[in-house]
Amino acid sequence: MGGTDECKTMLDALNKVTACYRHLVIALGSTSDSQNLREELKKTRKKAQELAVANRNKLTELLKDKSTSKDDRAEYERLWVLFTSSMEILEVDMKRSLEIGQEFPLKVPTRHLIQTGMTGSTTTVAARAMSVQNMKYDADSNIDTADLKELQAEISQVGQMMEEMEMKVQVAPWAVEAKQEAGAELKSTLSVGNSSVGVISICEEEPKDEIDEGGDNNGMITCIAGFIFVAIVVIAGILGYFVIGG
């Protein structure tokens, strides 16, 4: 069973990196595009590939083992479907980032980025993908063109890997039964109930649409409030103890 737990953590990591990569690719070509974004994309991609290779090795090892029980095998097949779906999304996003990267080179003054309204940086998203606190940027200034050739090579690598996987591993993906039922995402561990002080209603006919859950700059205020509350309870407890004890 240690095998499945290890697999699951690796798959979670791959899943996280895939999601972050998608967010980064969405920012390509818009006004939040920049040198840093291109570097973030490159680093996230490399991390994703490392995770992919690690996952693939682990899973093929588990699936090749003929002596696993039926339940175990079903579980491994489910993990395999998770892995391949992640890889599909990664592959498509990589191809699209190549296309958009080619269309929007950064150094050409006559090509303008699309004014989408997004102006912030994507550092925090990339930091989440790389599991670091802060991102360090150390790339050359022509990363937007130099990176594209590498990207093409990586895309063909990923394509080959997926073909190989399909040939070598005999798993029928449609036979896998999901463990989550419809609406499972609502039972997440996210703090979905806290409405915060700041409400942005960007689109005027759905004013309740953008109620933010646990926004970053309000986290501080809630922390301080919680701390004060706890302190008061502790003091009340101590006084009560003295009253009763004394």
Binding site: D12, N15, K16, A19, H23, I26, A27, L28, S30, R78, V81, L82, S85, E88, I89, V92, K95, R96, E99, E103, H112, I114, Q115, T116, G117, M118, T119, G120, T122, T124, V125, A127, A129, E166, P173, A175, V176, E177, K179, A182, G183, A184, E185, L186, S188, L190, V192, G198, V199, I200, S201, I202, C203, E204, E205, D209, D212, G214, G215, D216
Partner: protein, 487 residues
């Protein structure tokens, strides 16, 4: 996992979307800070978000840039919105451009409708799951239906979809609040374009997928030039008609059929594709007893129209029955049956036709000239699908020149005309339209319709004599006490 046997590599191209590359060029021009569209910040309760553009700015820019009229610029702007390159900030479900101070914003290139990237259902499922999280389980009705449907047929991927939705949601929260709001709007606009709510018209309808990119430059090999040469030679050899004649015919056709075109005139009672109300189809079914006024009017346009409409043909058959000259129409129908029928039954059908209509002393003998009869009988020795074509054309012209005129003046037709109904235009409110969309049901299976037609034909075959020959033979045989010839 999708079946990857067809190596896609973005090669499934959608023909009608070849204009997208040109639209992208327009979009890039609009971004120029000096010559592009002027943007303004959008002021919200707490923050301001930059890069909002007004509808009238877009329309004026287009009109100036391409020196076109304001109306055309308006249509072009609506196309940009309908394709999803610009999305409205208010009234996000109506993808039109309003040439006033309504606000719009440019869509990020990832969400542009690109020709070679088909929109995946996996992504839609992830989006719906994210929306479920944000709206705490309260989705719109069509979204809920789609969600349930996707959960059923994508069940094997559902774990992945839930995991990815949660991760994307968490990753999205890492960005600053104004950017988060913009991203939510962008994603929602993308899915309004590609999974439109029911009752809206989508600009994303395209035909069959192709394996060739219509935007790719073709290499100029000798084969390419050879094809051009063949094409031009064939164009020279084509028979030509004076343009005054052909244009005159087009104009006459347009004038006659103007009110009958559902694009140009309102369809009575209402267009089912727009209002989801099928009264129009029910009133115009093939075996309906009382046709609509418009349908009857179409029968007067030409004989071909009358024959191609099954209800019209029924009416004509009734008229011919009263005149005891039904054999012409029966022969015509038999020829059609032979042309369109299965190859296995062809020989049998051809023999049947000969025995019934063409042979000397046949029960339903048709009157065609000697030369055509000779050609047809000779052809029937080796029957094929089009062996009766000459005879059919002759009979068609006969009916057209003779019976058609009399039919239009006959009491049968006038009675049908009088009884025809002219339904009123439906006026649905928005809530009624939604109710209609919910009540959509599939129509009767075509298998049942075909069975009904067969029964109908069998019934007609056993009804009384319809031809003059049959009546005469009946009358003449009455005295001789011989049973009338069996049909």
């Amino acid at each position: 996992m999708t079946i990857r046997n067809v190596r896609d590599h973005g090669q499934r191209f959608r023909p009608r979307m070849a204009c997208l590359k040109k639209v992208e060029a327009v979009m890039l021009e609009m971004q120029d800070p000096k010559t592009g569209v002027k943007s303004q910040p959008q002021k919200l309760v707490i923050t301001t978000i930059p890069h909002a553009i007004t509808g009238e700015d877009v329309v004026t820019w287009l009109a100036n840039r391409y020196t076109i009229e304001a109306e055309e610029a308006w249509a072009l702007g609506t196309m940009l919105v309908a394709f999803g390159y610009i999305y409205p900030l208010q009234d996000h479900k109506r993808l039109v451009i309003k040439p006033d101070t309504a606000l719009y914003r440019f869509q990020t290139p990832y969400f542009w409708p690109a020709q070679q990237w088909p929109v995946e259902d996996t992504d839609y499922a992830i989006y719906l799951a994210k929306r479920n999280i944000r709206k705490k389980g309260v989705l719109e009705m069509h979204e809920q239906e789609q969600y349930n449907g996707l959960h059923k047929w994508m069940n094997h991927k559902w774990d992945f979809i839930v995991m990815q939705a949660k991760e994307q949601y968490r990753a999205g929260k890492e960005r600053k609040k104004p950017d988060r709001a913009v991203f939510d709007c962008q994603e929602r606009a993308y899915w309004v374009v590609h999974r439109p709510p029911p009752g809206t018209v989508s600009a994303m309808d395209y035909g069959l997928e192709r394996m060739v990119d219509p935007n790719a430059e073709e290499k100029e090999t000798s084969d390419f030039f050879r094809r051009i040469m063949i094409f031009t030679q064939q164009s020279i050899m084509r028979p030509r008609v004076k343009s005054s004649v052909s244009i005159g015919a087009l104009v006459k056709y347009s004038i006659t059929c103007n009110k009958h075109d559902p694009f140009l005139a309102p369809c009575l009672p209402s267009n089912p594709w727009v209002t989801d109300d099928v009264t129009y189809w029910l009133l115009n079914m093939a075996n309906v007893d009382i046709p609509t006024k418009m349908r009857v009017e179409r029968w007067t346009f030409s004989f071909g129209e009358l024959l191609s409409d099954p209800r019209g043909r029924d009416d004509f058959r009734l008229f011919l029955k009263k005149e005891f000259s039904g054999e012409n129409l029966a022969f015509w129908e038999a020829c059609e049956d032979l042309k369109w029928g299965t190859a296995a039954t062809m020989n049998e059908k051809a023999q049947q036709v000969y025995k019934t209509f063409l042979a000397r002393g046949a029960p339903r003998w048709i009157n065609i000239d000697g030369k055509t009869m000779e050609v047809t009988v000779k052809g029937l020795k080796h029957p094929h699908r089009y062996v009766l074509d000459a005879a059919q054309t002759h009979i068609f012209m006969l009916m057209k020149k003779d019976s058609y005129g009399r039919y239009l003046k006959s009491p049968v037709f006038k009675d049908t005309q009088k009884r025809a109904i002219g339904p009123d235009q439906h006026r649905f409110s928005v809530s009624q339209l939604e109710a209609n969309a919910r009540k959509r049901r599939p129509s009767i299976s075509p298998i049942i319709v075909r069975q009904q037609e067969k029964e109908e034909r069998a019934r007609m075959a056993t009804s009384g004599p319809v031809d003059i020959t049959q009546v005469m033979s009946k009358l003449s045989n009455k005295g001789k006490e011989v049973p009338p010839p069996k049909k």
